[in-house]
Subunit: 794 residues, 2 copies
């Protein structure tokens, strides 16, 4: 550890803080005269003023003090910026630390480079006013609020040396995602994981309102965070010298507490539920900015949220106040005549990778080590004949994940909202228990699988889980989140933001190394909700996914267990995607053996010749399907049609990779038109049985030549408490509906189809009656199997 460094002196800390505040204000206002070497003029002011001052000085204050702590103790520390539109503070520090200039060489460490930073900030073609993939040192998109703390915990898991300072805005603290994530401390193991130091920034106001946490009594605030299980320290005030002393003391104490907790746990002490420190920082909003403007309070008011002086270029009095404000930081005492920070101040910041802006974990792809993966051949299900064996695909996957876990105990976690077992992944508990640092009871030993060293993360908050996983993958590690299909919508917005982050990082931020993909297993599917009914029936998450950039999202619908394995292996190896895998947890037939599954999944789409008839001929009809349950019904429809119309030429196509349906011009996995046309024909009816809302298939292939002949069956928002087959019928994805649709659309069957239509319709009605009378589908349905090849048809 270093001796007490230069930067512990309060005057120097203050000067460094002034320098970062100056840069923040400069980013908001200046298009010229960056160091105020000449008197401020209207023409130095940006033409359009966009940005957020209010949060900046509190954040620069914290960053300045964290620097002191890092240097003094040689800490490995990340910073997560939670307050909305807080990028200016983070950028100011990245620039002062020199790291911004390394990433963006045009922003040199001189007046010209400083001006370039000012000009690009919050300007078209430039960088946003909130943290994003462009921002060095950041793993948290600051546009939508609420995810900073769960991201911070995700970063800290399995990084024992890391301390993540998580600045939480009092606005964002009102969101559901943030409110739930305080409980993440019950899932952080001080022996194995790093530490998170939350700093709740009470600057009192949001856009136009006070914040709740800033307006509840001190005693309640203290109680709230003690209730959340933290040991809060309050740093409150507006007088800089006093605040510097308080903050330095608070950070020293927090670090000592963190070290003590870790030392105790790492010496084999009881790791359970330590009371981690937390800082409540109460400062004026827009601290050090203009106190009053046009008779209104600005500092310490919501009026300092964005631009404290609305139009200094147009109002000489505002220009005067702005000049006074900017000069109050005494830029000439901070930057030398070339515009470079004076060395005495520069020396206050950490160097190299210790700089918060350059912490390698915040560019986690650089630290990524690929997973060691088990051989899927050892997990594949033997397939004597297509469809002969029934297995729970997610159970097979669970065993594969168990082995994956065993081989990667330092960099792989599995996440689920109390549904890991329900989703049939419980084999994984043989490799690792569920992370749990709260109290355990005697009875927990009986199948509870709880353990402080567990690596399966379960909390009944999809938002917290998704936030943890995002933090985990953005710092270079690997994971998979399984969730009930209908409730994946709880994280729609988080998915959107993560996908947007990946898109920007991949295409616009060359210094960001690829990060492991974020893998979502969507299960407990719409078609098997039984007593859960209508509220659990929503396959629309795929529509959200399909709206995002084709370069960063993938959707897989493996038809059986072996295909699920193949897809999962591919996803766990991949980088920079969100992979969405849709697979049901109930027993279903397995159609393809291992090598067949691997080939089918690699192609993403293919003709199943064994399920087709006269497959060497141009077909009368194409029966296509995507999804495990729709595939089963499509096969059953083929069986019916084969029996009824021996001469019917059916081509059977299964789609695993949904984006193969798109054009290769629109998606890298898309099929070229000629290949698509060869598969789906140019003019034959295509009866497509789809897992989700039918419109998604139309959306993906409405420009294809044969699209007018596509008849897509899928969930059409019809359901209640239903047997599986009853629900299939209500939505028209059942074998009878499909077969009837074939009769309607194959020209040469139309003439002779009255009788068969009638009998199909009767069979369907019979199945419905059975379901309603018995509360369970008929044996005929339940025990239906794809006819073994060559076996006589019934």
């Amino acid at each position: 550890m270093n001796a007490l460094p230069l930067n512990a002196h309060p005057d120097r800390l203050h000067a460094y803080w002034q320098a970062s505040n100056y840069l923040c204000a400069g980013m908001l206002y200046l298009r010229d005269n960056p160091l105020l070497r000449t008197p401020l003029q209207a023409q130095h002011i940006k033409r359009r003023l966009l940005g957020h001052w209010g949060t900046c000085p509190g954040q620069t204050f914290v960053l300045t003090h964290l620097n002191r702590l890092i240097v003094q103790h040689d800490l490995n520390m990340m910073y997560v910026c939670g307050p909305g539109h807080g990028a200016a503070a983070v950028l100011a520090h990245a620039y002062l630390e020199g790291h911004y200039s390394e990433r963006y060489p045009e922003c040199t460490q001189d007046a010209a480079g400083m001006l370039r930073l000012f000009q690009r900030f919050s300007a078209p073609g430039g960088i946003g006013s909130h943290c994003s993939a462009h921002t060095p040192g950041s793993i948290n998109e600051g546009g939508e609020l609420g995810y900073s703390l769960s991201h911070a915990f995700g970063a800290a898991f399995d990084n024992p040396d890391l301390i993540v300072a998580a600045m939480v805005g009092d606005g964002e603290a009102e969101t559901g995602a943030l409110a739930a994530s305080w409980h993440s401390n019950k899932f952080l193991n001080p022996a194995r994981d790093g530490a998170v130091l939350p700093i709740l920034h009470l600057n009192g106001y949001k856009i136009a309102n006070p914040t709740i946490l800033a307006r509840i009594p001190h005693a309640e605030l203290l109680s709230l965070f003690e209730g959340y299980g933290y040991r809060p320290t309050f740093v409150e005030g507006s007088d800089p010298p006093a605040m510097h002393r308080k903050m330095a003391r608070a950070l020293d104490q927090c670090l000592a507490d963190i070290r003590a907790i870790q030392a105790h746990a790492r010496a084999g002490g009881n790791a359970a539920h330590p009371r981690w420190p937390l800082i409540v920082l109460r400062t004026p909003k827009g601290w050090t900015g203009p106190a009053r403007v046009h008779g209104h309070a600005v500092e310490d008011s919501w009026r300092s949220h964005q631009i404290p002086l609305a139009d200094p270029a147009g109002h000489p009095d505002e220009l005067h106040v702005l000049a006074e404000w900017l000069n109050s930081y005494r830029p000439q005492e901070l930057f030398d005549e070339t515009g470079k920070l004076f060395p005495t101040l520069r020396a206050l910041a950490p160097t190299g990778n210790r700089r918060i802006s350059a912490n390698p974990h915040a560019n986690g792809g650089e630290l990524r080590r690929a997973l060691d993966l088990p051989d899927i051949a050892e997990h594949q299900v033997a397939v004597s004949e297509p469809g002969a064996q029934q297995v729970r695909a997610t159970q097979v996957l669970g065993e594969y994940l168990r082995d994956t876990m065993r081989m990667n105990l330092d960099r792989f976690r599995v996440f689920g909202p109390d549904e890991t077992a329900s989703n049939r992944l419980s084999a994984i508990y043989d490799a690792s228990g569920k992370t749990w640092l709260a109290r355990t009871l005697d009875g927990d030993a009986d199948g509870g699988n709880l353990s402080p060293t567990g690596r399966v993360m379960e909390i009944l908050s999809e938002q917290t889980l998704e936030g943890w996983l995002e933090g985990y993958v953005l710092t270079g590690r690997h994971g998979l989140l399984s969730t009930y299909e209908a409730f994946a919508h709880v994280i729609d917005s988080m998915f959107n933001q993560h996908a947007k982050w990946l898109d920007k990082a991949k295409h616009h931020v060359p210094w960001r190394a690829p990060v492991p993909s974020l893998n979502l297993l969507i299960t407990s599917l719409v078609w098997r909700q039984d007593h859960n009914g209508f509220s659990h029936q929503d396959p629309g998450f795929l529509d959200i996914v399909a709206n995002k950039s084709p370069d960063v999202v993938r959707i897989y619908l493996p038809p059986d267990a072996n295909c699920l394995l193949s897809v999962a292996e591919h996803c766990l190896r991949s980088v920079d995607y969100v992979n969405v895998i849709v697979a049901d947890k109930q027993p279903h037939p397995t159609y393809l053996n291992g090598p067949q599954a691997a080939r089918h999944c690699a192609a993403g789409i293919g003709v199943w010749e064994w399920a087709s008839t006269f497959h060497e001929h141009e077909p009368d009809v194409v029966i296509a399907c995507a999804g495990d349950i729709p595939t089963q019904e499509a096969l059953a429809a083929v069986a019916i049609l084969k029996r009824a119309f021996g001469g019917l030429k059916i081509r059977f196509i299964n789609v695993v990779d949904l984006f193969t349906l798109m054009s290769d011009h629109s998606h890298p996995h898309g099929l070229p038109d000629e290949v698509f046309d060869r598969l789906f024909t140019r003019d034959k009816p295509v009866i497509f049985n789809f897992h989700a809302y039918p419109s998604l298939v139309h959306k993906l292939c409405y420009r294809r030549r044969n699209h007018a002949n596509f008849h897509v069956h899928g969930y059409r928002e019809q359901g209640d408490v239903n047997t599986p087959f009853e629900l299939a019928i209500l939505n028209g994805i059942d074998r009878y509906s499909l077969a009837m649709d074939v009769l309607k659309h194959v020209p040469r069957l139309r003439a002779c189809s009255a009788a068969p239509l009638q009998s199909l319709s009767a069979l369907q009605a019979q199945a419905l009656d059975h379901a309603r009378e018995e509360g369970i589908d008929s044996d005929e349905i339940l025990n239906w199997r794809w006819p073994a090849a060559g076996a006589p048809l019934p």
Copy 2:
């Protein structure tokens, strides 16, 4: 107030509780022999066991005790059931109270009716195991978790006599939505609103895990709820007699506290931030059920979450345990020989509308009083020529909402996540401030608009707001929530659940009266994000909406302020929908005067003849648009084309009601094919400029005859920090892209289009350069106006 009633006797309370527990267990298991008048046999057991026992006995315990309180004090009380799959308890009470038989006469108050209740529970064709629209007394769908408390507060607003008991599950308490909603107490005015009594049910386990709140130390739990601003009372234990005493005492105290807070406030005392009571009820999960089964603890364990005995029909030992368990409630002492609850017990429940299951607020449509609405003519913008006037449409709407508020101060509220002013609705503050019961500071008087009597609800949690609004409309009142477009995804899942509720209520629950529509104003749109950049660009909420039943959702894209007024008036009058209105907050032209706007919005779609050329002829091209900003660009494209190709026949179509694009077979607002074909032609190119993702338009009209000629422009996930026009160009919704697309698709222009294409392309490049160099769009773009009719073209 009544004298101490019969039902205060603990033995009787206990017997009533036993009766409801018996019914819950019966719902899980019995298909015959409902009163166990003969020894239990395998054939009496349901063939498929589906349901959730764990939460039931705690809820029936609470409901039994609430009954006592209601009768004793003649209370107007609702119950919100938060724990997952908790319907059996609520149904049991509804049945015991006789109300279930009133709503569902086939479930008579005798053995046969009881058996029908048992049989339909969690069975196909029957009712779900969680509360839903079918459940009398419920306003909370219990399938997805997290919304009980915000629903309860929504119900309590403006219902001064109502007490809403909100049972919160310790599983659901882990969700973000629930965690945030505890702070709702800062928004409840004891002088004007009713009370919410939260009862946190710590039964310790979720599906497969302990719950966090059940495993933190008592001191932390107490601190947490004191920190949230409540006065918690703990009722903990498993011994029924002791628990009855504790619960009765706790409820007496809570009621006294509520009454004291209300009396103080209603006598003109300081209403600010009272400490409302809250009960923490800790009971064993599956209390009174089988203690151990096959050597595993079941009572007080996650193993009692669903079916405690998995297969009594198949295992005689389990059948024996089940018989013992069911008989432990002594059904013969609870129900007479016909199967009717003994009158001594029946007398314990409230009667008529005082019954929790029959509380009129829980069927809020019955209490609905239509809004008194101001005359929109007084708010309409004068339009001298189409497009001559620029206004902020949402500002005009704000003034209309202000007057609506003034006329409906007992039944109308406006909700927004700290964005009401940002979304330009601030005129509303002239009618009512923002609800705020936390501390205020001197400076708040300066434009803060905070008031305990405010009716504008602002908290930075879209989930809490949506929950409040759902609770408010489901109890028969009216409201509107405005939110930033991109972050509407935060409530995707809540929207889904509310829409599903409405669908079921409307079609399957005839006794539910229509409730006011839930109105969502989607603003701060993708096209005007400027410095906010990519994270704020997501118009995909409409895709979520379009997946729901056409009977319960509406999407409106008014092109200007007068159309917005017309749409808003319609929405505020409507019932049983979720109305989604998309309108930007920035200044835009107004095209239609009041009567024109009313006609256009009533039709939902129409030709704008003034923007067409040679409108009496069959057009060469249709230029269509939906959304305010796309409309403006489409008009600008027309202006360009008119100038360049004087003879070009353009039909200009504007779409307000998005679902007019669907077929009338698929949506009640859909246009019949022949009308659609007349509008969009059968074979001419249609250049469609759309507000959101283009695929949504294709999804809605892919079956239309002319669909192959539809070329839809919309957001295609391309953006960053951009000027508005730069963003339009990047996504191809700008005037030049549209005009170029017309040149490409009108056959007779193709030959002569090389030069114009080049000059359009040059103009586009020039606009881009300007945006990038100046950071602002050119004056030509900014000041562009639709040419006045008849004026010479430039």
